[in-house]
């Protein structure tokens, strides 16, 4: 269980090689003795992440996760809970894809939809079932402002995140009274390997900044945050911009 000062004893990272997920793990690892379950595709990146967290004093368990192999999800979740309760579960995997290819290449569109929406929904239900049984725990869903008002420039990705965001907000409502909470995190542009090579947008954040805000929000029992905070007001404005004007905006 998350202790009285807001620190978990165990952490599950779905998408265990994501920059933001690892930044969250590093922040929680500070006090030593953290148990981390790294769910990701097997490979060099996962091995390196495990080695780094072990070096920080964590006990790391590696679990295979293949977002597109739905049949494997139950086993992934089963394995993730095999060594005890999970206090914080971070749903961090995702795919940005190529925006122009995505709306013209059906395969690529399907891949984005599956990785960014179908799999998180499928895993989210499995996760919620487990957490409900233990009657405590927090799901951190890494969403994006891209889903808050979907833009022409990356609408396939944005639409998957819109669905993702809606699902986890709803899941949080459904889980009220069970002891389980959901925190939806909406970062703006994050300078990570996912966005490598892209020009940083205004109000860009680092994975460390997202992690810091997330850890604080978990301790404060928040349900929805924006990173950085001003992004909330920017998006609030953008949501209400009429379509003819919105399409002229350089966003």
């Amino acid at each position: 269980m998350i202790n009285a000062t807001g620190n978990p004893g165990s952490l599950l990272l779905l998408g265990g090689t994501s920059d933001i997920a690892l930044a969250i793990a590093r922040r929680y690892a500070g006090r030593g003795g953290l148990r981390v379950v790294l769910a990701a595709r097997p490979g060099e990146r996962r091995t390196a992440a495990a080695a780094e967290l072990t070096g920080l004093g964590c006990r790391v368990q590696e679990v295979d996760l293949d977002a597109r192999d739905h049949a494997s999800h139950a086993a992934t979740v089963e394995a993730a809970f095999s060594e005890g309760d999970i206090d914080v579960a971070v749903v961090a995997f995702g795919l940005l894809g190529d925006a122009e290819q995505a709306w013209q290449d059906a395969e690529h569109a399907l891949e984005l939809a599956e990785v960014n929406y179908t799999a998180p929904v499928h895993l989210g239900v499995l996760l919620a079932e487990r957490l409900k049984a233990q009657a405590h725990g927090v799901i951190v869903a890494l969403s994006s402002v891209a889903g808050e008002r979907v833009r022409r420039s990356n609408f396939v990705y944005g639409s998957t995140k819109a669905g993702f965001d809606g699902f986890y907000l709803g899941l949080g409502e459904a889980l009220r009274g069970t002891g389980v909470r959901v925190l939806v995190v909406r970062p703006g542009f994050v300078k990570s390997k996912m966005t490598e090579g892209l020009d940083a947008a205004p109000l860009a954040a680092t994975p460390e900044e997202v992690a810091e805000a997330t850890v604080d929000a978990v301790a404060a029992k928040k349900e929805l945050i924006w990173v950085p905070v001003p992004m909330r007001f920017v998006m609030s404005g953008l949501r209400h911009v009429p379509r003819p004007l919105f399409r002229r905006l350089p966003v």
């Binding site: 269980m1 000062t5 620190n7 030593g32 049984a133 233990q134 069970t178 002891g179």
Partner: protein, 490 residues
């Protein structure tokens, strides 16, 4: 003087027969509801199925119907952390097992046989007319006998009387197999010399409810002529002054404790009020008090409402309180007569005082370090005072020898307690304190704890394996579990 009844005197006669037997018959399933439970600190609550138990048979049924996440006994919920809650599992509310079964006034020492859910408040009120006294009283009377044993609570007289477990003659323990075992306090002073039942007895004391549910106990009592105390009060200018005075003079008193200022820095850092006393004899009372020397004075000023925001304890209020508390104490006063509430339980005059800390709650950090580590003790004290985290209710005391219980907290040395509202950065302070405490061979008190890690816990309690060997024998499936047990990987 009081005339003590010469024969065993049953205080209550309407007592169902719950004499221990090998296996108790089961009862039909109990209604269970999923409720949020938290410790007194209100900081780390969780949801569990609360089963209200009014008979041992009912407790057995609840054990059998487990949800797969175990069972934990709960009394009045005064442990500060997560000891008496069990997320997703079953929590047994034992406060309805509340009969005082027998008082043996003639025996020496006198004893009382009580069900586990009887509060010390109830017990004291029942015993005082007989001139009998509960030998160990923690900072509140609102704890149950079961809780007092399971946490092996201590009081201001630890340096002369030890902890609560030292005064338990026998206890009835409902274990995971559904049997109730009567465990007598074994003779002999070493763990190695104990048989299985002897070890189970001592593992249950301080065992935080993880060996089973205590359902009944026989407790040895002291005798008193009055319900008053003669109290000497001294203001101490700083922590060195305080520790020196306690080291020199504590042995002259049965009861000794100090409140210290944990807010003021600089020259007056660690200024304190030391109060020490003994039970008052009849001859020491005022004429008016002599008319009813065993009167139980326990005023109640009502219940604190649930209206306080977070940060009620802030720089301003903490400074004002500390100044007031220090100034209101006399520089040096000898032989003042105080009643039970004044001397033992000033906080009991208001119910639910923990609400003052607001919805985020608070934690109590209590640690002990051996006498040979006074520097660590002072360093921890300074870390707290200079941390910016504010504590008003601060207690400092010297412990006497510990007992055979592998998880009992008290050890010969200094103990310090602070109440800290939950705020950002508190984890770092507590973790840093843990490191100091471990380095000096000390430990923190599980009944207060809500944030220790499993690794640190193991370092603090070197006899953990003694405890685990007993628990694994009587409860190999770990049917008795709790949020604390899972956090500490027990």
């Amino acid at each position: 003087m009081n005339d003590f009844p010469a024969v065993r005197d049953d205080v209550r006669s309407d007592v169902p027969d719950i004499r221990p037997s090998a296996v108790v018959e089961e009862q039909p399933p109990l209604p269970q509801q999923l409720v949020e439970l938290h410790g007194w600190g209100r900081a780390a609550g969780s949801m569990s199925h609360l089963a209200s138990i009014d008979s041992v048979a009912g407790a057995v049924s609840a054990l059998r119907q487990g949800s797969g996440r175990g069972v934990t006994p709960r009394g009045l919920g005064r442990s500060y952390g997560d000891a008496a809650q069990n997320a997703g599992g079953t929590t047994l509310d034992l406060t309805h097992l509340n009969k005082i079964l027998a008082v043996d006034v003639a025996a020496e020492p006198a004893t009382v046989t009580v069900q586990a859910g009887v509060s010390l408040d109830t017990l004291m009120k029942a015993l005082l007319p007989f001139g009998l006294w509960v030998p160990v009283l923690p900072g509140t009377r609102q704890v149950t006998i079961g809780g007092a044993i399971a946490a092996d609570v201590h009081g201001k007289n630890h340096h002369t009387q030890g902890s609560f477990g030292n005064h338990v003659r026998s206890l009835d323990l409902l274990t995971a197999d559904g049997a109730v075992r009567t465990l007598d306090r074994p003779g002999g002073g070493s763990w190695e010399g104990l048989d299985d039942d002897g070890r189970l007895f001592w593992a249950t004391i301080g065992g935080m409810g993880l060996t089973g549910a205590i359902v009944e106990a026989v407790v040895e009592l002291q005798r008193v002529e009055t319900a008053y105390f003669t109290v000497d009060t001294d203001r101490c200018s700083d922590i060195d002054d305080l520790m020196a005075r306690m080291s020199e003079g504590d042995e002259d008193y049965n009861y000794s404790v100090a409140w210290f200022d944990a807010v003021t820095r600089g020259k007056h850092m660690g200024r304190a009020v030391l109060t020490r006393g003994d039970k008052a004899k009849l001859s020491q009372l005022e004429p008016k008090q002599r008319r009813d020397p065993l009167k139980f004075v326990a005023p109640s000023f009502g219940t604190i409402p649930e209206v306080f925001p977070n940060r009620m304890v802030n720089k301003l209020t903490a400074k004002a309180f500390s100044e007031f508390w220090y100034r209101k104490a006399p520089q040096h006063r000898v032989g003042e007569l105080q009643n039970i509430t004044q001397f033992f339980h000033p906080l009991d005059i208001v119910a639910e005082w923990n609400r003052v800390y607001g919805p985020n709650g608070f934690l109590q950090y209590q640690f002990a370090v051996p006498f040979d580590a006074p520097e660590t003790f002072k360093r921890c004290f300074e870390m707290i005072v200079t941390s910016g985290h504010l504590s008003c209710l601060n207690v400092l005391k010297r412990f006497g020898p510990g007992n055979l219980s592998p998880l009992s907290f008290p050890m010969p040395g200094w103990t310090l307690t602070v109440d800290l509202p939950i705020e950002a950065g508190l984890d770092k302070l507590c973790d840093a304190l843990d490191e100091e405490v471990v380095g000096a061979g000390g430990r923190v008190y599980l009944a207060k704890d809500s944030r220790l890690t499993a690794g640190r816990f193991r370092q603090m309690y070197p006899r953990l394996d003694d405890f685990l060997s007993v628990r694994n024998r009587v409860d190999p499936q770990h049917l008795f579990s709790s949020d604390l047990a899972r956090r500490l990987e027990l």
